[in-house]
């Protein structure tokens, strides 16, 4: 018997991070930790535990430590935002932030609008929180404000509660697309008109290749935006540390929810990040990450140009930041069909249907360049091209 927590499609997140054999993985979105200054971090962790271990290893209250707030504002300020302790809620990364919003702000049964193709972990979190998902309307420039208004009014006329819109507006997972500032302003105008809250998931915003940034939705209207921030992509995911910057009246609900979920944030992680920022700031590490991803993305895009050409069935755009390249089949073929051939050739990717709410976006596939060894990228793309340019296989089990 199916449980209500069964997810369709299944999230299968752990499989994204499996690596082994000779497979070149373009699947899981892992950061390149080669850039971390491990000796510095090791020295600081040692110092932290010697001086403050009894505090940093103890339970703590569900608040962002004051010492960490300058580090958060240094990151948010780069996209025009700022926040204070009253608005902040600690998380163990944005996945927990998504669950906290789904459980602490939304009511089971209500509808959340989701920018698609979407990060599957967001859809899974909202489903487990008992929410109904509905795609947010898009046009060629991304989220479409006028159509959004129509969609919300129609859903409400049908008796559905619609208060939340989820999006990943900068270097979106999986497309790499960034919503223009003009669109952001229009989106917020519709949100104010219809009393919507926007959940802004922003793990990649500071990872542009040229160092440029885009003004965050949160910067434009902090009272309309629940901002999910994380140290996973600008420092490292293993510390499990992130934050929510929410409108002040919502922050207590979110804090209570995170307290139920995990009892306590990690004071050790918060203190370690605060100490790192106090000593070094974020500039050098961000520059190192950007350079690494710029190089890997160029290697992958150049190889795709060489292997797949521009007049074949596959189309894509070179991203300007983030972790991903999104390929689409011009004739709408379901990319799951190529997965078996890809595995036989020794390469993996994530099929587009994984990023749909109900199987849509099946004509896409996501390639992640962020963690592939540089010298393996061309070989991986060559293997991928061999799988993608073979005759389209039928779906397994199809007549």
């Amino acid at each position: 018997m199916a449980m209500w927590t069964d997810l369709r499609p299944t999230v299968e997140m752990p499989r994204l991070f499996e690596r082994g054999g000779d497979v070149i993985s373009f699947a899981g979105g892992l950061p390149d930790l080669d850039v971390l200054p491990l000796e510095t971090i090791s020295g600081q962790l040692s110092r932290l535990v010697r001086l403050g271990g009894k505090l940093a290893l103890q339970y703590t209250t569900p608040h962002v430590a004051k010492a960490l707030i300058p580090a958060i504002n240094d990151l948010m300020g780069r996209e025009g935002s700022a926040t204070t302790a009253d608005h902040l809620v600690p998380t163990q990364g944005s996945q927990m932030g998504l669950m906290a919003v789904g459980l602490g702000i939304a009511t089971p049964g209500e509808t959340v609008l989701v920018q698609t193709p979407a990060y599957p972990g967001a859809a899974a979190a909202f489903r487990i929180a008992g929410l109904a998902l509905h795609p947010a309307p898009e046009d060629a420039d991304g989220l479409a404000p006028a159509a959004l208004r129509e969609t919300v009014l129609r859903l409400r006329a049908d008796g559905r509660t619609v208060r939340l819109l989820y999006c990943n507006p900068t270097f979106q997972n999986p497309t790499g697309a960034t919503l223009s500032v003009a669109r952001r302003r229009e989106l917020l105008a519709v949100a104010r008109e219809l009393d919507l809250l926007i959940i802004e998931d922003n793990p990649y915003g500071l990872l542009s290749f040229d160092g440029g940034t885009t003004t965050a939705l949160h910067a434009l209207d902090p009272e309309r935006v629940i901002y999910l921030g994380t140290f996973s992509k600008v420092f490292a995911p293993g510390l499990r540390c992130g934050w929510i910057a929410a409108p002040e009246q919502l922050a207590p609900h979110l804090r209570r929810t995170t307290e139920v979920m995990s009892l306590s944030p990690s004071a050790l992680a918060q203190a370690a990040l605060a100490a790192f920022h106090t000593r070094a700031g974020w500039g050098d590490l961000l520059a190192a990450y950007r350079a690494s991803y710029q190089e890997r993305c160029a290697l992958m895009a150049d190889a795709l140009d060489a292997e797949l050409g521009t007049d074949g069935p596959w189309q894509w755009e070179r991203p300007r930041g983030g972790f991903y390249i999104w390929l689409r089949h011009r004739e709408g073929v379901d990319t799951v069909r190529f997965a078996e051939a890809a595995a036989e050739h020794g390469v993996s990717y994530v099929p587009g249907s994984h990023f749909g709410l109900d199987g849509e976006h099946a004509d896409g596939l996501r390639l992640c360049f962020s963690n592939v060894p540089r010298k393996r990228i061309a070989e991986g793309v060559s293997r991928l091209a061999a799988a993608l340019t073979a005759p389209v296989p039928s779906l397994r089990g199809a007549a």
């Binding site: 110092r47 001086l51 403050g52 010492a67 300058p70 000593r279």
Partner: protein, 93 residues
């Protein structure tokens, strides 16, 4: 690497370091940091930065004692450590 006597920072320069790291205003160096609104995790971050800057190790017991964790109290700890390290052949305690 130790600074010569003429390069030794003053209490007021140390106050500035505290202000910069803890985002507070030090009106009286003898006021315990906790009374300025600096919580214990922030005090740890401050002492870590101080240790790194001066190349010293401060006794962890200092952090738990509000009377020692004023700007003046920490500055005394720094000076004690620096002077203990100055004589040739002498190590820290």
């Amino acid at each position: 690497m130790h600074q010569s006597q003429s390069d030794q920072p003053t209490q007021s320069q140390f106050d500035q370091l505290v202000e910069q790291i803890c985002a507070v205003t030090v009106t009286d160096p003898d006021t315990p940091l906790v009374d300025l609104g600096v919580d214990s995790l922030h005090t740890i971050a401050l002492v870590m930065a101080v240790e790194e800057r001066y190349g010293i190790e401060i006794d962890p017991e200092v952090i738990g004692d509000p009377s020692l964790t004023s700007s003046a109290g920490l500055w005394r700890s720094v000076q004690d450590q620096l002077s203990a390290a100055l004589p040739a052949g002498a190590g820290g305690n």
